[in-house]
């Protein structure tokens, strides 16, 4: 116990301030009312769905919870079930084999729900494109609110996109 406490004290708090919202990532206008967006902004629950990524995007989504980005500190956390989620964070081109599962996860998410497509593959189908096995971009399967390009996007870019999805149309 003592070495653990010593380590915690020695390292201290390394968390960095959250980046600014990047409105350029929006695929649609904000559908949430300003009041609702302000509410969600302080308590957003995300369900991550990997629809066929190379797992590079997952590594960067994991990094969001490291002590530098510390996503939970700004009220955003990941849930294990779409039933508990306000937002689906979807990576990958949608593999044909995952199409039904993605649609079911979307249907299981209660309204009002947001969808953020992550990575070049999620935004455009990326290097895998569309084929017998790939449906291409996420928007080909479910409606998308925000698209975060990058291969993979950095944790800061991910935060900018997630925050853009819940930013009120008119800032308070």
């Amino acid at each position: 116990m003592i070495p653990m406490l010593r380590q915690i004290l020695r390292v201290g708090i390394v968390s960095e301030p959250a980046p600014a919202v990047d409105d350029a990532l929006r695929a649609t206008t904000q559908r949430l009312s300003d009041a609702l967006a302000r509410q969600l902004g302080r308590a957003l629950v995300i369900r991550h769905v990997d629809a066929g990524s190379c797992n590079g995007c997952e590594l960067e989504i994991h990094a969001l919870n490291n002590p530098y980005y510390n996503l939970e500190a700004i009220g955003i956390k990941f849930a294990a079930s779409p039933r508990h989620a306000d937002m689906l964070l979807v990576t990958g081109p949608v593999a044909k084999n995952m199409e039904v599962a993605l649609r079911r996860a979307y249907d299981a998410t209660p309204e009002p729900k947001l969808v953020v497509a992550v990575g070049d593959c999620g935004c455009t189908g990326g290097i895998f494109g569309e084929s017998y096995a790939s449906c291409g971009r996420v928007a080909n399967v479910i409606p998308v609110d925000v698209s975060i390009p990058g291969c993979p996007p950095t944790p800061l870019q991910l935060m900018q996109g997630i925050l853009a999805a819940i930013a009120p149309a008119k800032p308070a």
């Binding site: 190379c54 994991h62 593999a95 599962a101 291969c151």
Partner: protein, 515 residues
């Protein structure tokens, strides 16, 4: 050349970084070779098929099987009849071949003559007689059909099934696990994978030789350096290009940095899975420091597209080298400190020890490779067994444990971090000067194989060009093919809540095996 005193004549292939031999064989010769290789305790590396109907009307398909022998890599090619492309089942001596054979059947329509006949990568999303790797199959998408997959049922009083996935509860790739349980105890686990199949092998067809590296680097993003290096080796063989020495040293630097980054992350998550959030936070902090330096020095956090056919895309100056050495010292100190904390943490050790055990005997029987194999006393590490430049001058030490449990797989990771830090320091201090890239020119109708020890195990990339010099067939093999079936055994007799921990201790790639 001949092996195991069998009358099969192998031809050494030119320009391979590791000695690579090939031979065309008959079905009975393949079976005899498999038997001899199994007897000699060698292992299966990969198995894949190809469509050759444009070259040979009678033998329109081929099966390729690669083995790791004491001398190097050998690749056996079995021509298959166009009319009835059937090949002998080799899953008896090499159980890991089973799913690879099923994948060949799903993608190419050449089937094993025995063994499991259920589909593997085909999930009723294309017709059963539609084979995506046949050149004349249209690249069309079909409506999803309902098709029953026959899981093996465990019956008896009080047995029930727990079905998990494809979407798992966490930030993790999709797969389906079917547990048959009695109370909390797992009687049987059956995996159903292939959810991420996105047609990578078909995508390779027609790509330029240099362009394919980007795709290979995205077969499994966490092993992007290993794939890009293996792909580059194969492409350089086709082109007859020898990359400059400095480029090879830089590749080893990037590969070891990839290894350390993944091991740091895994050690954090192993802590997290036994409710030690402290471990997750500390290791994820170290990993973030580590990959931030990647971004600063090499321009990409995960090092994607830094290894390119012909050499590398990035160089390192003296100031960068010093930063790397300083970071190795700092991370080495921190990891030693955290290892002491893990070692002495009774709660963590209680969950790690004897959990998800794969005995050396079982590991040998199933053909476990890579990191998980080394945790069960399987001495497979290409960097030591068949070192290519610069590993032949670095003499890496193989990390071996015998217990085969979660604790052993954690210990192998700790040992490999320490060893990789030592290698990185040596690489940046002893790297020869010179250029970092040689020209690459594609040659028509040539083949090449690349083989690299990634952090999870050995990655193999087999390439072949067509008459136009474009890629005709590209096959990427992930070590997860060998190790996924082992997880089914590791889970037996453990409790369901320990499964996430056991799964994490293997940390296998879904994307890499789903292709």
């Amino acid at each position: 050349m001949q092996f195991f005193n069998l009358p099969i004549d192998f031809k050494p292939l030119d320009d391979h970084a590791t000695l690579t031999c090939a031979a065309r064989v008959s079905g009975s010769e393949l079976l005899a070779f498999c038997g001899a290789a199994h007897q000699a305790e060698r292992r299966l590396v990969a198995l894949w098929g190809s469509d050759e109907r444009d070259r040979d009307a009678k033998f329109g398909y081929a099966l390729h099987v690669a083995f790791d022998l004491a001398d190097g890599l050998v690749c056996l090619t079995l021509p298959l009849l166009t009319e009835n492309p059937e090949f002998p089942d080799i899953s008896l001596p090499f159980p890991a071949a089973d799913r690879m054979q099923r994948a060949v059947r799903d993608l190419l329509g050449a089937a094993p003559d025995a063994g499991d006949q259920r589909p593997w990568l085909r999930h009723a999303n294309w017709p059963a007689d539609h084979y995506p790797l046949r050149r004349d199959t249209p690249d069309a998408r079909y409506e999803t059909q309902n098709e029953d997959y026959r899981f093996v049922r465990v019956e008896g009083d009080g047995v029930h099934e727990v079905a998990v996935g494809p979407i798992h509860a966490g930030i993790i790739e999709p797969g389906h696990f079917r547990f048959s349980v009695m109370g909390e105890s797992v009687l049987r686990l059956e995996e159903r994978l292939g959810w991420k199949h996105k047609g990578i092998e078909r995508r390779f067809v027609g790509m330029g030789l240099s362009d394919g590296a980007r795709l290979a680097g995205r077969v499994s993003g966490d092993s992007t350096v290993a794939y890009a290096w293996a792909y580059s080796q194969a492409a350089e063989t086709i082109s007859g290009t020898m990359p400059p020495s400095r480029a090879l040293w830089l590749r080893a630097l990037l590969l070891e940095r990839e290894r350390v980054a993944n091991h740091l992350g895994d050690l954090g998550y192993l802590g997290n899975d036994v409710a030690l959030a402290f471990g997750l936070m500390q290791f994820m902090r170290l990993k973030e420091d580590w990959i931030r330096l990647n971004a600063r020095l090499f321009g990409h956090r995960l090092l994607m597209d830094r290894v390119i056919p012909g050499g590398v895309a990035v160089d390192l100056d003296a100031a960068g080298a010093q930063e790397i050495i300083d970071q190795c010292h700092a991370v080495g100190r921190e990891v030693r400190n955290l290892k002491r904390i893990y070692d002495e943490h009774a709660g963590l050790q209680d969950r790690f020890l004897a959990t998800g055990r794969v005995t050396p005997q079982l590991a040998k029987q199933l053909g476990v490779i890579g990191l998980a194999g080394r945790a069960s006393a399987q001495h497979w590490d290409l960097r030591c067994n068949h070192p290519c430049q610069p590993y032949d001058q670095l003499a890496p030490k193989m990390a071996i444990e015998r217990d085969g449990d979660v604790a052993a797989r954690a210990l192998v990771r700790f040992a490999e971090i320490v060893e990789s830090l030592r290698l990185i320091e040596r690489i940046v201090s002893e790297m020869p000067p010179g250029s970092i890239r040689a020209e690459l020119r594609s040659e028509p109708d040539k083949r090449g194989i690349g083989w690299i020890e990634g952090w999870r195990g050995d990655v193999l990339v087999a390439l072949e060009t067509g008459a136009d010099g474009k890629i005709r067939r590209g096959h990427c093999h992930d070590p997860s093919w060998q190790n996924w079936p082992v997880l089914e055994h590791a889970a037996i007799d453990n409790i369901v809540p320990d499964f996430p921990l056991i799964n994490k201790s293997f940390n296998l790639s879904y994307s890499g095996q789903d292709l």
